[in-house]
Amino acid sequence: MAEIASKAAFSADDADDRRRLQMVRLVLYVVSSALAFMTVAPLFYMLSMSLKQTNEVFGTNLVPHHPTLDNFVYVFTQVDFIRFLWNTFFVSAVVTVIALIFHSMAGYALARLRFPGRDAIFLAMFATFLISQPVIIVPLFILARTLHLLDSYAGLIVPSIFNAFGIFLLRQFYLGIPRELEEAALIDGAGYFRIWRSIILPLSRPILSALAILFFLANWNSFLWPLTIISNQDLWMVQVAIANFHQQYNGSWNYIMAASTVVALPTIVMFVIFQKRIVESIKTSGVK
């Protein structure tokens, strides 16, 4: 929108339009900032609660009366939190990479390649999207146990890769890519795998970046499945560890908030790194 506004500058009444442009830009800045502030404001409470002492945590004051870093110290010294962070990072990263590869291949095939049963396969895949995890957890647990996946990284990683959401989104995206590039490559005799690797993958950078963020985030914050199949504390993921601060009659909300603040940081970093790639377009003129 800012772009359209800027293009509006090239009309007859230059001075007037420049002022109008500046007004529009100013309004947009103000609106964006206000929305962003209102969005983030509740999270100030998260930070605030993590810096408060136990008796103050639920006080309505935003600024702690006796700020303390004790909660953070506790989180890192009383529990092996670094290890849990590492476990979670490892699992999330591996799942994200493998999922992106598999889903991109599947999405491309479902969007572009013609083979019998394609649409039926797609609908069947999509059907798996319609069920929520708590419903299938018991058979899934039995399956994991039968495959000896309990209490292992593999058990955390393998079932989490397969989710129809990514396939669906990538297929949508690939439906919209112009065919000329692939057709040129096919005429030159390229195999489908090479086409996928050298043409489709680079073209899908924006959408893959978006999915990288979302997959990483989903796995980073996952709770139910890790809780179900892991009993060995060495393999805990962060959300299970955070839930552990909550004892039978003791909320320990200050520790939970401190730990959650720490846990939120990596995904924020992931987002900042990847979000620019999403809005880079490598669509070029002359191709459409």
């Binding site: 069947a124 096919l186 690797r197 043409i199 003129s285």
Partner: protein, 319 residues
């Protein structure tokens, strides 16, 4: 932009092997094999880890399950019980209300935010990160933070209201308001996700169209209506479908209810997915829960198929 085109053409040429002696298989056969091979990893994985458990779980709908290893085939009993269960129907009502309010809100907010921050600039980088931040915190944090903000009398919202001489409202404790409060919090939590999807979708629209429109004298609103919206159809379809499915049976939907209201007050936020969980894990009625879950799946499948037929398999032609 020019360079990327050259890059792609280079990539194409690199991808093309030199062929002597002609291909062994016909092009159609090659395409078919490639199709199956590409789909194979995900298809097999989904079948084993989701499809199988899903079929097993849903087939439990015809059994009465004790939760300790006893399975008794009861045919349609669970379904008959469902029809006579007022709590089930109430949970469907609440779910429909939830979906009807949430899905359009997420669409509008997600798209609006994406439009606002779509151009690359340092300012927008910061804005995008801030707008996405609710997604990066876990739902436990979301629950706790909003609890403090919304609590009766002393929560920030009520203090603000008191300053305006308004009576304190129990946003989460009053059956009249609780569901809408949860919807509001859901929008706050989920909008970054859909903003991201729309950002990706907006990139699909070539800049030239906007240039051409500007040259023709179109204003921003007209550009939006005549270019952006139509070309966003694939993304819109995707967002509507995904948000509907997520609203009905998504994990995040369930988690929010579980953390903030546990289905209360007075069953006003007892969504179908929450009622199913209660039956399965608190009441140990796995068979009954499975029957209800099957109904949900069938309904969602119907909506999906309908939407797919309306949009010819999710393909849209550009005008």
């Amino acid at each position: 932009m020019r360079d990327s085109a050259a890059e792609i053409r280079k990539g194409v040429r690199a991808a093309a092997p030199s062929i002597e002696g002609g291909p062994r298989l016909s092009n159609r056969a090659r395409e078919r094999i490639a199709g199956y091979l590409f789909v194979a990893p995900d298809a097999i994985g989904l079948l084993i880890f989701v499809g199988g458990p899903m079929i097993l779980s849903l087939s439990l709908g015809f059994f009465s399950v004790s939760g300790f290893g006893e399975y008794a085939f009861v045919g349609l009993d669970n379904y008959r019980r469902m029809i006579a269960d007022p709590l089930f129907w109430r949970s469907l009502e609440v779910t429909i209300l939830y979906v009807v309010a949430l899905v359009p809100s997420l669409y509008v907010v997600g798209l609006g935010l994406a439009l606002l921050v779509q151009t690359n600039s340092r300012f927008n980088t910061v804005m995008r990160s801030l707008l996405f931040m609710p997604q990066t915190v876990s739902l436990v944090v979301v629950g706790l933070v909003w609890q403090v903000l919304l609590v009766d009398k002393i929560g920030l919202f009520n203090q603000f209201g008191a300053a305006l001489n308004l009576q304190s409202i129990s946003w989460l404790g009053d059956p009249r308001f609780a569901l809408f409060t949860v919807i509001g919090i859901s929008v706050w939590f989920l909008m970054g996700f859909y903003m991201l999807i729309f950002l990706g979708g907006l990139q699909d629209i070539p800049r030239e169209y906007y240039e051409a429109a500007r040259i023709d004298g179109a204003g921003p609103v007209q550009s939006f209506l005549k270019i952006t919206l139509p070309l966003l159809q694939p993304t819109s379809f995707f967002v509507l479908l995904v948000s509907t499915v997520a609203a009905v049976c998504g994990s995040q939907t369930f988690d929010l209810i579980y953390i903030m209201t546990k289905g209360g007050p007075a069953n006003s936020t007892s969504l179908a997915i929450f009622y199913i969980y209660q039956q399965a894990f608190l009441f140990n009625e796995y068979g009954y829960a499975a029957a209800m879950a099957s109904v949900l799946v069938v309904v969602l499948m119907a909506i999906t198929v309908l939407l797919f037929m309306l949009t010819r398999g999710g393909r849209f032609t550009y005008g």
